[in-house]
Symmetry: C2
Subunit: 455 residues, 2 copies
């Protein structure tokens, strides 16, 4: 094996990005503004600050500053788990027999198990800086809740996590990771909030949903003095923090003298794909780079490939602002696929606009093929991927096989956003050969889209 390029490229600590990258100033068409769900007017800074920390609300609105400095305490904590490695997938290339060079940026080497910690740390820091005593949030699969529990432990903040009830019961291990970091974890819907009590009355046996947990977390934050709510995806501010992924990848590739031909990420709310691709999209928009961008979403929850670009609620409880995005409708119930992190009806508004503008391509992958790709990756590259990340691997393998068929040596870069160590129930179903694919019916999607709010 000719390995003139290292297997793993780590930046040194003084090469870490000192500022986050904000793509908005460079976008030819800016994403449409968030709307107040009651007035249908653009949300004001003041309104947003009742729910979110002030500095985070400010970042959400920022369309002018291309770089936003990373505060020193955040930078110090980043050094605990960053830089993450950019890995040349020599063994995967060999197994596929492709002339392509495959690189992946691995964000799973921290206890949260994913890239989520990149945004949890600044969100906890800004809460602390504002003098708050705690934050509330929701978690479904558990990565975001774990990341917030860790970040709050670092900055000595209370952390209250509403965990979707079926996850709470199915994943007691995730719950105890959060508890070990000092977070309190409440199964949602709960009797602790008005919205929770209402839902429990209407559906006594409900297993809960992310939309309900968001509504409970927002209510708890608004009603608890010294608290605010934090959110781990979808928002522009999250994509801003996640730009460290792309900035590090860019610096590492430059060190290697390599340039990407296609950048691939899984897409749920969009924070991982947006974070990896953002700085490269910036270069494309500046005319400095020619590169394709590919979102891989699940066939079971196909917002980019089968949704509509329209204003919609970000949560099913309809307490959060409206965003213009590719959506399946806030009331859409995604198929019970195993990549819980991708079971979201909408998509980050910047990525939605980039898709609308033809800059971001999208494909949908069936989950059994995703798990096949994940297994191939585990057996060749060693790392057992999260089902979410398996979508990016699926996309990378498709591209690598295309390169093989065309005899082209392209540079494929994908985001390995996390590990699958808490997803073994899903792997077990796959190993047992009982995993199913789910393709939504056209009429179900159409029905959901017919209920989009009129703006």
């Amino acid at each position: 094996m000719n390995t003139d390029i290292p297997y793993k490229t780590y930046l040194s600590e003084n090469e870490l990005p000192k500022a986050w990258f904000n793509l908005k100033p460079l976008m030819p068409v800016k994403p449409a503004p968030l709307l107040n769900p009651e007035t249908r007017q653009p949300v004001t800074m003041q309104e947003l600050s009742r729910i979110f920390c002030e500095e985070l609300a400010r970042q959400e609105f920022d369309e002018t500053n291309e770089y936003i400095p990373i505060p020193q305490p955040v930078y110090d904590v980043y050094k605990m788990f960053r830089p993450s490695p950019l890995v040349r997938a020599y063994f995967l290339e060999q197994a596929l027999g492709t002339p392509a060079h495959i690189y992946y940026k691995f964000e799973g080497n921290n206890t949260s198990g994913s890239h989520k910690l990149n945004s949890a740390v600044p969100q906890a820091f800004y809460a602390k800086q504002q003098g708050l005593t705690g934050v509330t949030t929701e978690t479904g699969a558990g990565q975001w809740g774990t990341a917030m529990a860790m970040a709050c432990a670092f900055f000595k903040l209370d952390c209250k996590v509403f965990m979707v009830k079926c996850s709470y019961e199915q994943k007691p291990h995730r719950r105890d990771v959060m508890r070990t970091y000092g977070a309190s974890v409440t199964p949602s819907p709960s009797t602790e909030t008005a919205v929770g009590r209402r839902i429990l009355e209407e559906n006594p046996g409900t297993a809960g949903s992310l939309g309900c947990a968001i509504s409970e977390a927002v209510e708890a934050a608004v009603n608890t003095p010294g608290y605010r709510y934090v959110l781990g995806s979808v928002l522009s501010l999250v994509m801003l923090h996640q730009s460290v992924i792309g900035l590090e990848t860019k610096a590492a590739l430059e060190k290697l003298g390599e340039s990407p031909d296609v950048i691939i990420g899984c897409a749920g709310g969009g924070s991982n794909l947006g974070g990896l691709s953002g700085p490269f999209v910036g270069d494309v928009l500046r005319g400095k780079l020619k590169c394709r961008f590919l979102a891989v979403e699940p066939v079971g929850c196909p917002s980019l490939t089968r949704g509509k670009y329209a204003y919609d609620y970000c949560d099913t409880g309809k307490v959060c602002p409206l965003a213009k995005m590719y959506t399946l409708g806030a009331g859409y119930m995604p198929a019970p696929i195993h990549a819980g992190g991708l079971r979201y009806h909408g998509m980050n508004s910047m990525l939605s606009q980039l898709h609308e503008d033809g800059i971001l391509e999208a494909i949908a992958a069936p989950q059994t093929k995703v798990f096949e790709a994940a297994r191939t990756f585990a057996r060749t590259e060693g790392i057992l991927p999260a089902p979410e990340s398996g979508h990016a691997i699926y996309g990378a393998i498709q591209e690598a096989l295309r390169c093989k068929a065309e005899g082209r040596q392209e540079n494929i870069v994908f985001g390995l956003s996390g590990t699958g160590y808490f997803d073994m129930v899903s792997y077990q179903r796959f190993n047992d050969g009982v995993m199913q694919d789910f393709t939504p019916a056209d009429e179900d999607i159409a029905k959901s889209l017919s209920k989009l709010p009129r703006v």
Copy 2:
């Protein structure tokens, strides 16, 4: 925070050790030879090769070569997960208010979750090189089985794992990691082997034990053409492979211009502690370094602190060679502590000799204190440690507090051998406040030691 030394030091790939370090040639008193369990005579190369791969048996006997080259294919796979970082625990130091500098070598950033992969890879490679088609092994907590499953996937070997039945049932997730890598996993005792059938007849409801699983794995290897048995701890050959931990640590400390005052590791069979400390012990024996070495074992299984230095069986089934070591007796049933990897009655014979010679100190830690240390570490340094590694953290914190009391700035280096992501049932018991300590009674240990074989 003054952080003139980086948080994490990674060697570059061309700085990776090219050879393993063998401490035996430097030892003033060599460890006593392994004995054939039937003849009580030193085991011959020929006898050992019936169970183990030839090259591995050769390494087990090697008392002359101080360095043994790492074969290129092993080196290539090492690059998949090595170098591991040497981390300066700034946040832990700050929390303890100690003048000591605390460093830890983190071996958990691979899917096996521990240092075990360092020996699994060469063991699979030598099996393949010898033309074998498969290997058998046993696993209790699951780390070694996972590491072997991964290594066999890389070298395309069959892998048959006998997993202690109670672990098989309590840890279905571990089992499915191994299956995802293509290994077959059999709960032990099973009806597949004579020894398994005998044990099942005698104790129909038995939950199994490591000793039984070893006996089944050895029988299956000896009776399957093209198979050999592999073992993940206790043996000198394992300590040899694990020397990459110490060699990397030494190179990283030299880069930083730092020298260790005390090196700490948890001790079960001894492979992790031996691997980390071996090259430094070598420097001490050569008169080039002044440094203490500290083994931290569980109060519930105290082979170094309360055992006897004598010949004993390595397995309860008494099919493996006898080794001279610190032991609690092969029939000793360790307390049901949560650090499954440390529930072994004996200790590597080299470490045993070093303890006998006063070079290696040892302390025993109660498990509730270990989990407290592990939680402190998680909340300050971010990584959720394995319960086994928690023992090393406990030792490091004790030493750091001693430095604080004495006002001394010493360099403390400990091995963070693995992560606790598959140990959440244990953390849950700790979080719920229902974890107990177990201190063995003197008479139980004396009774077990009275049954040591006469040699």
